[in-house]
Amino acid sequence: MTADGTVLLLPFAPRATTARRTPKRPMDEAKFEAFYRKTAGSIWSYIFRMTGDAAAADDLLQKTFFRFLRAQPEIANDDHLRHYVFKTATNLVFDHFREGKRDREHAIEALPSAEYHPERRELRHDMMRVFAELKPQERALLWLAHVEGCSHDEIADAVGVRSKSVRVILFRARKHLAELLTRKGLAPEPRHG
């Protein structure tokens, strides 16, 4: 529910909801633009970190929002809409991996370069390489948990696993990443307090 008490819906009137008692107001272009501005950057970063391919990230970002507009999810607030978009993006990224469209080594070599900051480029390259060594599911879990701050239930919904399994898979993913970081000498000093 938005501040003015309307439920956000997407532009194409869903057949399933036409018989419902509460009249729904579809999301108009202005609302979509506002939501897109708030969300698209994070989604792009997520997809890019998952695939390591900027072109794929552009493509999947557009597909994500196309699906979002077509699906017309009946969701009460922006946080839930955001979660819905992350879930859609996750599904598309997993499909992308399944279809074998990626060429991670090539993609990482072709990362957009920070021409004037070679040391940053090297750091990014190392970080992307480490992250690429994780399984796609591990990458998704770590990103959603640590960067997006999603709850276990939200992660379970986005990744398509049981909520109870998230804790275990997340623990294994952290362990895997920590081992990789230690092995490659990239482990940062943990923050305390």
Binding site: F66, L69, H146, K175, L181
Partner: protein
């Protein structure tokens, strides 16, 4: 999020993930929202149009099959007569026919009528296909 209660591994991973997330690697501007909106609207129109056209397309496919089956049945039914008639197109047979040496093979009126109807339907179907595509 209370870092104090976290185990060192989790804190280490969290620190690394935060650093990783802060990397600015977006090379160019993202696709424009209004462009996406318009494209999604167009895409939806195309999907709706395809859905609306589906019965017509199915009927068209059915018509192709009926016409093809009609031609096949006709050819099988009168194949011998047709073969004789076609053989009559050789120069020898034309000359013999003109001299009255060979009796003309006659095809029944029903057959000729069916042939005309089938040919007309085929032509109409072809026109419909061409016009529909245009």
């Amino acid at each position: 999020m209370a870092d104090i209660e976290r185990d060192p591994m989790e804190a280490q991973v969290d620190a690394w993930m935060q650093q990783f997330a802060r990397l600015d690697d977006r090379p160019r501007s993202l696709p424009d929202a209004s462009t996406l909106w318009v494209r999604a609207t167009l895409l939806q129109s195309v999907v709706t149009a395809e859905r609306a056209n589906r019965p017509i397309t199915n009927a068209q496919i059915g018509a192709y099959l009926v016409v093809a089956a009609g031609w096949a049945a006709l050819l099988m039914w009168k194949w011998n007569a047709l073969a004789t008639w076609l053989r009559g197109f050789t120069p020898t047979h034309i000359i013999l026919g003109a001299a009255g040496a060979e009796a003309a093979t006659s095809l029944s009126l029903t057959f000729v009528l069916i042939l005309i109807v089938l040919a007309s339907v085929t032509v109409m179907l072809a026109f419909h296909t061409i016009l529909a595509e245009e």
